[in-house]
Amino acid sequence: MKTLTKEMQAAITPSMALDLLKEGNKRFVNNLKVNRNLLQQANETSDGQHPFAVILSCIDSRTSAELIFDQGLGDVFSVRIAGNIINEDILGSMEFGCKAAGSKIIVVLGHTKCGAVKGACDHVEMGNLTALLSKIQPAVYDENTVKENRNSGNAEFVEKVSTINVKRTVTAIMERSTILKEMIEAGQIGIVGGTHDITTGKVTFYQDTLIINNPN
């Protein structure tokens, strides 16, 4: 596994970027992680970063994007916020990761047993958490198949809300960021949503959220 250079980054297409992530997650799950010289990678990237993916994931200490996708230093532009929601600063970060840093794919990555999603399911209101959870709230209302026990005690409900939340975030990125929408439409970058199972480490991508356009 070589450290990404500008040329290597330019040669990666959005679908190749997604494959790199899929392969990396397979390595992680099977405990076949690549042995990297991190210090050397730090040295090789000191003149600039050329990541191939922007991953919007959760702050949970069990969901490190670099670790679960077995990536090294300089590979992933990692944006992390509770419940992988969208904000001005988060959108700005993702735009920076794609437009300025040249990433090829955006992944919105939720995870099972997410504390923030559980908080939204229970309608928790506390300090600055209120503002944060209000961004997940629409996903709670969108979920209309579970009729009883619509709270964090119901694992099925929590996971359904989590899935909707990821899909809503994917849509929101397209709706709220003209830059990213144009880059996706032009095929310069791709976008996909997915979920990380924190008990197995396995990442599942939601095929219905995947947009990779042909650059022609």
Partner: protein
Amino acid sequence: MKLKFILLTILAIASIQQVSAQKQKNKKKSNPEIPAPVIDSAKWRAEHYIINRDSAYANPRIGLQKLMGGNRRFIEGKTIRPRQDSSMIKKLETGQTPFAVVISCSDSRVPNEMVFDQGFGDLFIIRTAGQVSAEASFGSVEFAVLKLKSKLIVVLGHTECGAVAAAVDRPENPPGHIVALINAIKPAVAKSSHMMGDPVNNAVRQNVLEQVNVLRELEPVLSRKYFNGEILIVGAVYDIHTGKVEFLPETLLNLPQPNTKLKTEEKH
């Protein structure tokens, strides 16, 4: 009486040593081909700056030592990559007890787990470009402090940060939402503009100091806990050339002391 006590302690120590020696013997017997793991030795632990995870979780000052030790391993090229296997996350299925909350930049060259040589369950990480924080980030920190009982909060900037550089350059037409980042970092640029040296790296440092102060004053949770000495909020800058994390001395001075200390002082 004293002599008896000393004798007893000597006896106790001797018996403990005997037991551990026997344990090691047993270990060797059960695995004749595999040499005893060196990672158990005190020497190895000292050489790799190993600090107990539970102590780091219980005491933010020890947590800080643990982060510093992990970064030393990283820059000395002797990372141990602890708790990074997929088997580890199965163990954490029921919950997490991260000993530190790190608010850092999204830059791909600053993967927090790697530069601090920590693993799953250790660090609660919030990352945006230029570690710019709004309500969602604040809410995320409060979640870690209230729900997960993390006691150490580190704001981690890095040299040559692209978002900070954009705030220094102030382009006329910044694309999209990048202007939100520029506006958030701009006060730090203004405060550091008179300084000698590299304007971007000066602003990076100032930006971290500003962000530390915002968190220390943040209502309703963090300010109270910080001034009660229940949590630590410190700032640091990662050097993308050397890999070294410098904890900013300004943020390590005059820290509020925990209440427990006050109580013991009262007793005297």
